[in-house]
Amino acid sequence: MAKITFITSDNETITLEGTSGSVMELAVNNNVKGIDGDCGGVCSCATCHVHVAPEDFAKTGGPEELENDMLEFDDLTNEYSRLSCQLQISEALDGIVLKVAK
């Protein structure tokens, strides 16, 4: 079980618990504002963009090449950007804080 906290653009803080699937799915299933997950998680829409809290970035690690290419052309990208559909939920992510990019 992993506790994952989302901070939306209107500064709402939502903490959710997940055991499996992707972080995008967890967010979409709980209507976290700003995470749409249009493509269902195949890395083609970038509507699941989050900024990982700097102190948590080691827990997620950086993006793979194709994800990185996707982020390269997003105006809101910073060095802590990830597409949340590419983050698989596991114990390793417990306690992580994610800022919704949009």
């Binding site: 249009d38 493509c39 195949v42 890395c43 083609s44 829409c45 290419d69 052309f73």
Partner: protein, 384 residues
């Protein structure tokens, strides 16, 4: 060749130089072929604009048959965002439970209908009615309106022999004008009324603006959805095991939809007009000339996709560009995806196999390139 095989028409030029030129009514366009270059150009909206003369970014160009600006697709930032925000909420309605249920009922009933027939021509007797009926949900108008659009045939914007046909386009434009006037007289819960009641940047939308949105809604989702549906049927006819796999594992449906949409890329390309002298693939692009973002070519780029010319139904990472890329990505994508997801679920539940009886390919003529984009007709039998 198998009916479900759609070759990559652009491989050689993409690999050798990354671009090629296409002639189009004395307004040539430089076609961008590589995945990364296409995304880069799509991202640079300041340099490669959408808000050019109405119809000019479409290939083949529609400047001779249309004056109405399609919204939000032919508008650039900052105005673009206000229109897009207004429409986004409406065009995301396909995610609502109630909408999904209605769409499921529609699609199940048309599949039941064809299952009871010996032979069926998919383009005209399956995909066209399916697309037309689904559109009534998107517009939030009575289901019966679909009958009229079905009677127009698959090519309301083009006739069999000319790519662009002003008379045919006028049928649609006049129809939309009338519907707008009707909505002014009798407001309802439809998209027409919704738009007529909306304000963008503090100003009420004009009739012309409403028309621009409606033309886009009708034109953008017609042959694209029809092709995606027809081509998917062709695919399953030659891969009955896939239907079985989807039935056993419905969680795969989402990936399958994205992959079919990548492989078939229903819309080959979309143009932009350069606002200043620029350079793409070390090649000069002159101010006021056109480039074309070739989604179909980008989607077969072997630097991005492993086995790009194969349908890998459970492809996990699939950064395809079938719905475009950047701020102008497809407004109807949510609706289109929902149609395809429900279609795949329904087919896998109800159909065991599909036999192709006759097929006539639709080959797009793009100057140096000939691209199979779908079928003029596809006769099949669906088996329970």
């Amino acid at each position: 060749m198998k009916v479900s095989e759609f070759p990559d028409a652009f491989k050689k030029e993409r690999e050798e130089k990354g671009y090629d030129s296409i002639e189009d009514q004395n307004d040539p366009a430089m076609m961008i072929l590589g995945h990364k270059d296409v995304r880069k150009c799509a991202h640079q909206w300041q340099t490669f604009q959408s808000g050019a003369k109405p119809g000019r970014i479409v290939i083949p160009s529609e400047v001779n048959i249309r004056e109405t600006r399609q919204i939000p697709f032919e508008v650039d930032p900052p105005e673009h965002k206000s229109y897009r925000n207004l429409l986004e909420a409406w065009f995301k309605r396909p995610l609502n439970e109630d909408y999904k249920n209605q769409l499921t009922t529609q699609i199940e009933s048309i599949v039941d209908e064809v299952l009871n027939k010996d032979a069926i021509e998919v383009v005209g007797d399956f995909s066209l009615p399916l697309q037309s009926r689904a559109l009534t949900l998107l517009l939030n108008i009575p289901y019966s309106e679909a009958d009229l659009w079905i009677s127009w045939g698959t090519h309301v914007f083009r006739s069999e022999d000319t790519a662009l046909d002003a008379d045919k386009a006028n049928i649609l434009y006049n129809y939309i004008d009338q519907e707008i006037d009707k909505a002014i007289e009798n407001p309802s819960e439809s998209l027409y009324s919704q738009l007529l009641n909306s304000k963008v940047n503090g100003k009420k939308l004009t009739k012309e603006e409403v028309k621009g949105v409606m033309i886009l809604t009708f034109a953008g989702g017609r042959d694209t959805v029809i092709n995606a549906v027809t081509n998917s049927i062709a695919y399953f006819s030659e891969h009955p095991n896939s239907l079985k796999a989807l039935k056993e594992n419905p969680a795969m449906i989402n990936k399958a939809v994205e992959e079919l949409v990548r492989y078939f890329t229903p819309l080959t390309q979309m143009g932009r007009v350069a606002t200043k002298d620029a350079e793409v693939c070390e090649h000069a692009v002159k101010a006021d000339s056109r480039i074309a973002l070739n989604w179909a070519s980008a989607n077969r780029d072997e630097r991005v996709f492993e086995n790009p010319n194969e349908v890998v139904l459970d492809r996990k990472v699939n950064p395809h560009l079938s719905f475009g890329f950047g701020i102008h990505n497809c407004l109807g994508a949510t609706h289109a995806r929902q149609i395809l997801r429900i279609l795949l679920a329904t087919l896998s539940k109800k159909v065991t196999s599909i036999d192709v009886l006759e097929a006539k390919e639709n080959i797009e003529d793009l100057g140096n390139f000939k691209r199979k984009v779908g079928f003029d007709s596809l006769k099949v039998q669906f088996n329970k």
